[in-house]
């Protein structure tokens, strides 16, 4: 794999761009692999990369039913943060943050991780107390966090609504300076290219239609490109975990729901941070191309359709203006939906499964993008050792039976309310 660098750009510019190589090979399946990862999204590709990079397991295939990065890794609003409250979440997401901080260099692919800082507005003293609790936990776990008062918020983001007509006046905010955004497609492509560099086969247009078994053990998969044997199989198809899980005979506490994302026309720099509205469902950042990228709440009913409803579009627009009135004249360019695995506690599931040889990585709800590197890292470890990596010990499937749920919002087991 030729390294990317300023020098390589220069050299190729002078040779008319004719000498670039494929970022990853157009691989066709071999008869069998040590590990098959189903799902060519961020998590699946990261898993394959860390299998090779951390564990030296290179006889690996990533099977993608369409094209890599076509699911949620390429549809999300790209926010990366590590501001989690509960023991089991806090450390995992901070580990992920640390991997993000070195990702471009580790992959030799610029994923444009931009630590522009994220703030969530608070609209009452009570809410700010709640944020302080969170910030205390973050600090006590070695994570940066700040609490801002109204004036500090105003200095940082003067374009928010500080007027008398604000329905929910801004009281303060919680701020994480190391939070930010990344270029989502680049994450998929960067992992794909790096994994490919280690010999991993990335096989596109290869849909898994069933599992091969020897007794209770999974020994491979049926695909649209034929049968492929595998020592172990990892499932990383968040959004469609139930569909593939059912083929393997897994019973899961997952529902699929749509979360919409929105982008505006490209503008000169306006929003320098990631800003989330604490009084309703809205968060926004500005991409490097200049579009404001934002989102809101789930559509609120089970869905596998990658599209959203107009009611939510309207609610998101209302919340957007409530937070930053100047967005009123900005025009929405495009909106789309992603299918989320929603779990009853809004925390993910990464673990070995009751079926031997099958490992599960799913249930990412609307928070999967920021977890991509840590998820891949820990899932690879889990697949190799057969035991959960310590950082994902809390993400077992069994927790719903035992009550060890990780419900950050306390919203309860109705997945669509999470």
């Amino acid at each position: 794999m030729a390294r990317y660098s300023a020098f390589s750009i220069l050299r190729n510019a002078l040779s008319g761009q004719k000498n670039w190589q494929r970022a990853w090979r157009a691989a066709e399946p071999k008869p069998s692999y040590d590990v098959i990862v189903i799902g060519g999204g961020g998590h699946g590709l990261a898993t394959a990369f860390y299998l090779a990079e951390n564990h030296g397991i290179r006889n690996v295939a990533v099977l993608e039913k369409a094209y890599i990065g076509g699911g949620n890794v390429g549809r999300n609003t790209t926010v990366i943060r590590s501001n989690y409250l509960l023991d089991g979440n806090t450390q995992f997401y901070e580990f992920s943050m640390k991997l993000w901080e070195n990702m471009s260099r580790a992959l030799n692919f610029n994923v444009m991780f931009s630590q522009r800082g994220q703030l969530v507005t608070a609209h009452s003293a009570d809410q700010l107390d709640g944020f302080s609790h969170r910030a205390n936990i973050m600090r006590l776990n070695g994570i940066d966090a700040d609490i801002l008062d109204r004036d500090e918020v105003r200095r940082l983001v003067p374009y928010l609504d500080f007027s008398d007509t604000a329905r929910f006046p801004i009281h303060g905010a919680i701020f994480q300076g190391r939070a930010g955004t990344a270029r989502h497609d680049a994450v998929a492509w960067g992992y794909a290219r790096a994994a490919d560099g280690h010999g991993v086969d990335i096989i596109q247009n290869c849909e898994v239609t069933g599992f091969l078994r020897d007794g209770d053990r999974i020994i491979g998969v049926e695909t649209t490109k034929g049968r492929i044997g595998a020592g172990k199989v990892g499932l990383a198809v968040a959004g469609h975990t139930s569909v593939l899980g059912a083929k393997a005979g897994l019973e899961l506490p997952i529902e699929s729901h749509v979360l919409q994302a929105f982008v505006t026309e490209p503008l000169k720099p306006l929003v320098d941070h990631v800003v989330a509205y604490g009084a309703d469902h809205f968060y926004v950042s500005q991409s490097d191309k200049g579009g404001l990228v934002f989102g809101g709440n789930l559509d609120g009913y089970n869905s596998y359709a990658q599209r959203g409803n107009l009611g939510v579009v309207r609610e998101v627009a209302e919340a957007a203006i409530a937070l930053m009135p100047c967005i009123s004249r900005v025009r929405l360019l495009r909106h789309w939906g992603g299918v989320m695995d929603m779990t009853p506690d809004a925390s993910p599931i990464i673990c070995p499964t009751p079926i031997e040889g099958l490992f599960l990585n799913g249930g990412w709800c609307y928070g999967g993008f920021k977890a991509t590197p840590a998820s891949g890292w820990c899932f690879a470890h889990t697949i190799v050792t057969g035991r959960p990596h310590p950082l994902i010990a809390a993400y077992g499937l069994d927790r719903f039976r035992t009550g060890h749920t990780l419900d950050e919002a306390g919203a309860g087991p109705s997945a669509w309310l999470q």
């Binding site: 139930s242 899961l252 529902e255 089970n302």
Partner: protein
């Protein structure tokens, strides 16, 4: 915007309704002592990519809970019924007092 044909109120935008999730799971009897039955009722979901039976309450209208059959791939609605009628069919109401 989904449009749901409420058997009482007619065709309405779905934001007049409150979603109640999977209606194919059976709630154990109130005094069912089997924790596994409750675990499955609360947590385990088939989550089909296809026809899904689900509860909706016309909360801003007649307040009736409905059972809607909807295709989760394209939101086509196949049927809408009053949940009370369905549950009464399953467990007939007690006889009126004499």
């Amino acid at each position: 915007m989904l449009r749901i044909e409420c058997p009482c109120c007619g065709l309405r935008d779905h934001d007049e309704f409150r979603y109640g999730g999977d209606a194919s799971v059976t709630r154990p009897a109130h005094d069912d002592p089997d924790p596994e039955a409750w675990y499955r009722y609360v947590y385990v979901r088939a989550n089909p990519a296809g026809l899904h039976r689900e509860f909706w309450q016309h909360v801003i209208g007649c307040r009736q809970w409905l059972v809607v059959e909807r295709d989760t791939r394209n939101h086509a609605i196949a049927s809408v019924e009053l949940a009370r009628q369905l549950s009464a069919r399953k467990s007939p109401a007690r006889k009126p007092p004499a």
